[in-house]
Point group: C2
Amino acid sequence: MNPDLRKERAAASFNPELLTHVLDGSREKTRRRREIENLIMNDPDFQHEDLNFLARSERYEVAVRKSANMVKKLREYGIADPDEILWFKKLHLVNFVEPVSLNYSMFITTLLNQGTTAQQEKWLLPSKGLQIIGTYAQTEMGHGTHLRGLETTATYDPNTQEFILNSPTVTSIKWWPGGLGKTSNHAIVLAQLITKGKSYGLHAFIVPIREMGTHKPLPGITVGDIGPKFGYDEMDNGYLKMDNYRIPRENMLMKHAQVKPDGTYMKPLSNKLTYGTMVFVRSFLVGEAARALSKACTIAIRYSAVRHQSEIKSGEPEPQILDFQTQQYKLFPLLANAYAFQFVGAYMKETYHRINEGIGQGDLRELPELHALSAGLKAFTSWTTNAAIEACRMACGGHGYSHCSGLPNIYVTFTPTCTFEGENTVMMLQTARFLMKSYDQVHSGKLVCGTVSYLNGLPSQRIQPQQVAVWPTVVDIDSPDSLTEAYKLRAARLVEIAAKNLQTEVIHSKSKEVAWNLTSVDLVRASEAHCHYVVVKLFAEKLPKIQDKSIQNVLRNLFLLYSLCGISQKAGDFLQGSIMTEFQITQVDQRIKKLLTVIRPDAVALVDAFDFKDLTLGSVLGRYDGNVYENLFEWAKQSPLNKTEVHKSYYKYLKPLHSKL
Amino acid sequence: MNPDLRKERAAASFNPELLTHVLDGSREKTRRRREIENLIMNDPDFQHEDLNFLARSERYEVAVRKSANMVKKLREYGIADPDEILWFKKLHLVNFVEPVSLNYSMFITTLLNQGTTAQQEKWLLPSKGLQIIGTYAQTEMGHGTHLRGLETTATYDPNTQEFILNSPTVTSIKWWPGGLGKTSNHAIVLAQLITKGKSYGLHAFIVPIREMGTHKPLPGITVGDIGPKFGYDEMDNGYLKMDNYRIPRENMLMKHAQVKPDGTYMKPLSNKLTYGTMVFVRSFLVGEAARALSKACTIAIRYSAVRHQSEIKSGEPEPQILDFQTQQYKLFPLLANAYAFQFVGAYMKETYHRINEGIGQGDLRELPELHALSAGLKAFTSWTTNAAIEACRMACGGHGYSHCSGLPNIYVTFTPTCTFEGENTVMMLQTARFLMKSYDQVHSGKLVCGTVSYLNGLPSQRIQPQQVAVWPTVVDIDSPDSLTEAYKLRAARLVEIAAKNLQTEVIHSKSKEVAWNLTSVDLVRASEAHCHYVVVKLFAEKLPKIQDKSIQNVLRNLFLLYSLCGISQKAGDFLQGSIMTEFQITQVDQRIKKLLTVIRPDAVALVDAFDFKDLTLGSVLGRYDGNVYENLFEWAKQSPLNKTEVHKSYYKYLKPLHSKL
């Protein structure tokens, strides 16, 4: 083991194994996860080539091979539990994506949620076996978030009992679906349904796009790759243009809405159920944010323990860069953040399953809050994580810029999360709509429950926005409860300001919609404060549940660092409304510096507890063992530019210049 | 022209051409810049292929060809003025880098600064003609910012009158130099000079690394490419290992320090002069930050004018996304920032040339402040720009993630600026050292001048950090002078807090160095506030110099937006020390929202004024003309994955899975 890392591990105040159990949920879950991971690590069929050295077409090729191998192995090992598949995939893919993933995550899921029993019988088995390789085509070149704006049409023809699919404009071309460009032979296409001359809005259709067996695009279908992106090199995100393309009536997913053979439209019983999938995906993304941030922290903190640079005292050996206060201040708050998001991710997963069970029994009461919460937390955690990964990368200095760090790949693979499954600003505004609705309920004398129950305590008859929310309060900056209370007051104050500003705009504006737009900056700010409060609250609530005192202690320090750094960064929010005093803010800044030195000896153990395999990190700098510099040198030698000793470019372009001097 | 852009241009309150003259410096400079740019745009020898579709080795190949072509054309057109070369290069390279650039920017520059007349006579002409292709090798695998830590040695052997160069460890391998991997045949190597058994610190040596003519690495030299990076794909950043590699005594650059034939070391007259190059490079980088940010804003704002999405009022056509307050709030402050940095960049360039003239006449008085200012501003502008480019990219939604936007390339090409030529945190701490020195001077009764002269006004006998800097003041949030004053007070307060905290730590710590480390978070914060003040001040001072009233008016709005957003984001800093009241902060937030609507009609004209050619932007989304979606579709079709209609991966890996069902 690297001597610096050995020293760090020996100095930790706690046993990281116990913390790993906390993160996994139990000792047994940790054991089983490792068992699955070992299948991959010990299986010679998994060649763990470094995709960094390959061109995009080669990366695609390797990814398809890996996908196929994975499907084979999952069958072979009999792994079917969704969590276990996830562990398997995560280790197998190593920060990369796979072309057939949408077949499982979107095609099959939509089939299950929206297909009739007959449809499931027909399509499910072949798609599970990858005979049918499906994707999910919703977004169009000119239309993303706003679903009503989608232009693709599916017009029913009762004479042939077919739907005629059309992409009437350039902007209506389906754009972005993963695996669409080269890999898939079917797509679930979202299109505006037209029957008997009337439009009924978006519905889902199973559309064959390539001929089975030959894999050639079918007549009427134009399909291809949308070109290179920031990341997702292995993924053939694609486009799809349909020209009078006919599919049988039975290819419309008809579990909810239906079109009868004569073209009669039967509307669904409830629209609310389509909520479910989105809520699931967004809840899942909160956990993904936690995971990406934990990875980035692992790499940056291990490297900072190994890297020696500069000097604190003149003439002494170069210290570990982890000993610089500025480096600690960059990384430890992010580490605390990673833990906060881990607990939020676990909470969202539990909550989703709990509420989903309720839905199964017809209980939809908690759905609106879960919807608002998952939207806001998806945005809050992904924005934070996005910036944090880059902060980790830059904290690794020059080497962070090299793919040897693994960090550029983590970043480019993660950053679409801010945009997909609901653009973050739009998500924040959805949360804001729930907050405004809750605020109005309180003002009309009703009580609200759940995470917004703090609104019940708002004094009501205020007029001036700047005078709202003056609570007499003393914040104890060492108390999780008291800090949570401070975040709650801040959220309440910003929700109230947004609501008052919205009311003012409604009076001055031509319409409610214009007023909403002219208040949207305040609304986003209110949602952020609400989400921040929820994260702090969930973290605080986790602490007393931890059995082991040493673990509880380190997590408590991380909690304090997380919540105090939030206060320091948004000091204005806490000073306004007199939630905290100027003197307290000064104390917060001093306390943060103390906490950095307290956390310092445990930093490496805290990232070890995330228990990433070297393989999963895909990072030379974050490797658990060995000499980072020797590893780096070996890695660099694989560069394709090193394959030719004397480069033809020199002879071809540079040498001819000399004679012309 | 795109109809949305035409409408926007018609609605502007000013003539962007006049603003372009302001940015270029004069009407004549604009004319000449365009003349140079037209040489490239109208020259069929410049093939403007899109590097996004190529593999790394191909990109390198194209870049070398482009480099060679550029050198030829510069000779042909007789362009020699540094500014003009820059215009030429910028348009020619389009967000990409070139393998021979270090020959000009570093090899020749160092030769001029540190070589004797004889050395310049020998090396200058062949390197200008690219017979000698040089690079600059300073950074090592294990050592970056801390120059004393560099391990490479150059030991003088008086018997043969040679230096023996060695890379004694893995960590001492030279790492990162641009063009070193494949392109260069010489490097200026920085090594610890040892003569007569004594070490004299870092000195520069000209080291042949490849054989002239054959381009093969010379015996004793191990050289290669360091592998793939986040960006800089076209650049062969390289490594260099030297094993008892001998070079003649004459290859040490001896303008300042010298080694006599018998090995006697002659030290340089002054160490201060080495300051000069660094100050120049960092001043230049401030302008580069402005340029990168201006580019990103141009793309994001044009696209936001063209993109229609979602709805403000139900049932009406989809509005331009530039009409959403949240989108304006994302982009307009960044646009204001771009203008602020443009003026700071121009100021740094002027100041550098003025002070450099002084240095030529032996006047070094202003050098320390310029050094501190260029270090801090390099960090301040590059950090801000770094985050801002990503904000622009994400403001373009999904398409921002595609290379069609041009934004990923702008980002990955810019982001190393935060690390190279002095890592940003280290830079901020250098500025802090100057601030602390100035603060101490004031406290010992001396006056300081220049940008830190505000420290002269600090009341002195204070003890508690939290009580400092209570100035009675009324900030007029519509007055550039008053806002500049507010930023000045904030800087003064944070400098004082850092100084007081440093004093406290000195009392409690074992040493000054430890105290410095334990205060470094405060020190960085003080430097940031100082730099922020300088940027606001320079922007405010620019306003009265503008002749045209319509231009002055739009710039004034941008100034207000820039400075008010800074206050809103750092509200805590302005509330503490009672620089502003809570009521004023509320007013600031309201005023920002108003400014967004005021700037809205001018937004497109404001980015047009940057006058980027479509070619320079390298962006489908930011193109001046045409239908963005049709352009996008044409662009995507070029994807290499579209070259084979039926992909072999399907047959090879996916089809075989079916039979195993």
